[in-house]
Amino acid sequence: MNFLLRPLVALATTIALAAAPDERRSGYDIAGPEIRAMQDDDTANPGNLWVLQGETLWGKPTGAADRSCADCHGDAQMTMKGVAARYPAFDAVLARPLDLEQRINQCRTEHQKAEPLAWESEDLLAVTAFVARQSRGLPITVSASLELRPFLALGKQLFEQREGQLNLSCSQCHDDNWGKQLAGNLIPQGHPTGYPIYRLQWQSLGSLQRRLRNCMTGLRAEPFEYGAPQAIALEFYLMERARGMPMDAPAVRP
């Protein structure tokens, strides 16, 4: 494509995705005052217990290489600032996007020569929370590059297609019915600003993929495996849909 056209196409996609950016509300925006207070106060937000653990792991030499994250990346406050806000990101070697958890695990296997951390394990949640914490307040800025276009399209399609025994799409709830009450839950717009989140329902920290699995199980649809290309595409579409919204990880959600 003509390089002059690229920004225009990117712009057009952005506009189509976020039809009315000013109407976007994060889970924090629609939460009650108690949940917001819990999220805002560092000692009251249980997510910070994982951030604290992540900070310890960041400095701990691991694997056959006996290197710590800090050995290569130094002070996370500087080097990880804004990183979580642009994931999933394209991996040129694998020719597909990786989400933050996968990117961290890639450093474990390739750079630390260690076993990857299991999905939803305490350690993976902790390191992810620590990295994501460094993006607090920064706007979501996933890449709009051309090679990511097909993955975005797949994510959008998955978001809009009806599925499960309830035969509903994500969009029917999160675009068309947000703000309404569903069996005791307020339907949010579904923006992934705060992951990993401390979810009161879980009484624990959990990843965006776990949250998506909850919605899919709710639809009586078969959830995607952790790390499945569809799950990453959906994450990527959700991040694009939330472009520009501030990150608030580790968030507290009902």
Partner: protein, 168 residues
């Protein structure tokens, strides 16, 4: 810590879980915010009598006067697993006149006790904040034992739209 919890849980369609419930008896209800509360059906109270008994054990024959004790919690909570609660008691907290302890009770969890805290003049303020689990909409009661041996009480009602998972 255990993350993937099983066990009995009142799953809402999107609240809960990874766990699967019967696919057939699900009905989706979209209602505007607030109206959902009408759907609440309080189950039979398990421990209202237990709470009364627990309080009697604490205060004995002493009169239980309302007032001075302020119990704050949100009037409607989105999730019963983690409900912020604060109790404060009007007291100069001096050697001669202070609150010795604050006892928090609930009506409808499996056990009437929530917490008991012991204070004194060194605490400066008769105050405690914590987070509690609520299995259902109910009344929460706090009783303060004062240094002169008398008791004061206060309480608040709370509506829970999604009960605490672990207390069912």
């Amino acid at each position: 810590m255990v993350r993937e919890r099983s066990g009995r849980c009142s799953f809402s369609a999107f609240g809960g879980g990874e766990g699967s419930t019967s696919p057939t008896r699900r009905r989706l209800l979209f209602v505007t915010a607030g109206a959902g509360l009408a759907l609440l059906v309080p189950p039979a109270d398990a421990t209202e009598a237990a709470m009364a008994e627990a309080i009697r054990q604490l205060v004995g024959e002493a009169p239980l006067e309302p007032g001075k004790v302020k119990l704050e919690l949100p009037s409607i909570v989105e999730n019963g697993n983690t409900v912020p609660l604060t109790v404060s008691v009007e007291s100069p907290m001096t050697e001669a006149d202070h609150v010795e302890s604050i006892h928090i009770f609930n009506q409808k969890n499996p056990q009437p006790f929530v917490a008991a805290v012991h204070l004194g003049p060194r605490t400066g303020k008769a105050y405690v904040a914590t987070r509690i689990r609520l299995a259902d909409s109910q009344r929460i009661v706090a009783i303060a034992k004062l240094s002169d041996g008398s008791f004061r009480s206060g309480g608040a009602d709370v509506i829970v739209t999604l009960a605490a998972c672990t207390e069912q």
